[in-house]
Amino acid sequence: MVRFENVHMSYGEHAVLKGIDLHIEPGQLAVLIGPSGCGKTTTLQLINRLITPTEGKIFVNGRDISTVDPVELRRGIGYVIQEIGLFPHMTVKQNIEIVPKLLGWDEQKRSARSKELLKLVGMEERYLDVYPAKLSGGQQQRIGLLRALAVEPPIVLMDEPFGALDPITRESLQDEIMTLNKKLHKTVIFVTHDMDEALKIADVIILMKDGNIVQAATPKELLSHPANEFVESFIGKQRQAVGKLDTVREVMSARVVCAPDDTSVVEAVDLMRRQRVPSVFVLNKEGGFDGQISIKDIQSFSCTGDEMISRLANKQIPTVHPEGSASEAFKIMMQENIDELPVVDGDRVVGIVTRRSMVTSLAKVVWQGEAHE
């Protein structure tokens, strides 16, 4: 169904994928897993040609995709991402029906399809005319999933789709994915960094490290015959982590609000109000982290409303790495007396540690999942 032949991918000098060979059978639920930055997202985006490999060939359904029109290719492959990315100005119905519409289905067929899909994830028809802003995170991701399934693509790509959801919603969506995979015989390629998630849903787990595949095996095999020490320690570390809080990732919230550095103060304030957050992260032209600006900063600076936030942004704010130590992050927040700590990987913002996110994670460990957010 999906085959990689010696695929390399580099950004300039930086080799991200170093010769990937991969074969995913029709109907399989394959899970890509590995430490942050190992190339999971890159691998996924190669499949629907959001990016092009520097070397090597990729086949989807037997066809070399470099010979297929990217738009046509993508319409036949479902795509679900952690950021969800619903179209905010379209209703649930319009969001679900977007690909059928692009393909020219008539209204009757589209409408029947969106109703049928909504039932599939147990949502009522009254949601059809609701805008995404009115939905919970879990509901939004369900719609994201339905949008990807609307034209029954034989392949669905999912990039950490449940990373930002609470554990209960995540569980139930994992179940739904497994059902879809088995009932509708979709080939699903699923990215996660959560070993428990992988062990639960995968037919085959593809463990990656530094742009290479370390082991591709069924969950059972992976547990009983780990290929090397890295695999062993990766499973081990992840397993132990349940019930303990080691890394920043476990105490952070992935819900971050960002604004490009040429945003005006007025827009930034407006954004904070709409998103109900006390601060936003400032991104440079390349989308990299370039400081933080809080409502307090704005109030204490004398600035005009149309001024760009780049000047006011606090670029000295301490940051932590997602795999960094959670207790270190806690110490920093206490010592510097800050309420929010950006979690930055390379130059990408991947999350935020707040007092609230920290307490919520702690509570979950202490009360074993009984705590509610």
Binding site: N48, L50, V71, E72, L73, R74, R75, G76, G78, Y79, I81, Q82, E83, I84, G85, L86, F87, P88, H89, M90, I98, V99, L102, Y131, P132, A133, G144, R147, A148, L157, A259, P260, D262, T263, S264, E267, R274, K285, G287
Partner: protein
């Protein structure tokens, strides 16, 4: 009070404003789209537009007059030049502030680049784009008033003649409609902006 002449001055004033801002949009909006595609260009282009913005109105009218002569066209072109700043700036920010995830999803589900613009970026940026046009309209009304100095028609003419002949009524018959137009147009466009954020 000469009502027909006030009325025709209002029409001329609106015409100059409308065509000036329209020309600004025709140049500015595609420019904003281009700048989104070529972020490297944006620094230099914004530097030029910022510079244009700092030219005093009267000086600008005179520069353009040297090229186009003493007439309404000069005012229309000057308005267009001043409009570029708010129009391009707002459209650029609006189009660029569309959530990255939304854009990746749009592309990932198989929208063409054109569809990403027409179905996602432009509708989401619309209120912001319109706010830029509103700013342009309000300043255009005042530039059109100044236009009287280079022989253009419009409400500025009534104000100017009123001042020269110490005819307060005539002066007000220009000044009052100018203020009212500004207030009304601003209110009206703001209403549309609000309508365009129906989904929030």
């Amino acid at each position: 009070m000469n009502w027909p002449s006030v009325f025709s001055a209002v029409l001329t004033h609106l015409q100059i404003t409308f065509f000036g801002v329209l020309l600004g949009c025709v140049i500015g909006l595609p420019m904003a789209v281009l700048l989104i595609q070529k972020p490297k260009l944006s620094h230099s282009v914004f530097a030029v537009i910022d510079l244009v913005q700092t030219v005093p109105t009267l000086a600008m009218l005179i520069f353009v007059m040297l090229l186009l002569g003493l007439n309404n066209r000069t005012v229309v072109v000057s308005i267009a030049l001043f409009s570029l700043f708010p129009i391009i700036r707002n459209a650029y920010v609006g189009l660029n502030s569309v959530d990255r995830g939304t854009l990746r999803a749009a592309k990932g589900i198989g929208m063409t680049q054109l569809q990403v613009f027409t179905k996602v970026r432009i509708p989401i940026a619309a209120p912001m784009i319109l706010a830029g046009i509103r700013l342009a309209v309000v300043s255009a009304l005042s530039i059109a008033t100044t236009g009287v100095f280079i022989g253009a028609g419009g409400l500025g003419m009534l104000v100017w003649r009123g001042i020269q002949t110490r005819n307060t009524a005539m002066m007000l018959s220009g000044a009052v409609p100018i203020s009212m137009l500004a207030l009304m147009l601003e209110y009206f466009i703001e209403r549309i902006e609000k309508k365009l954020t129906y989904y929030k």
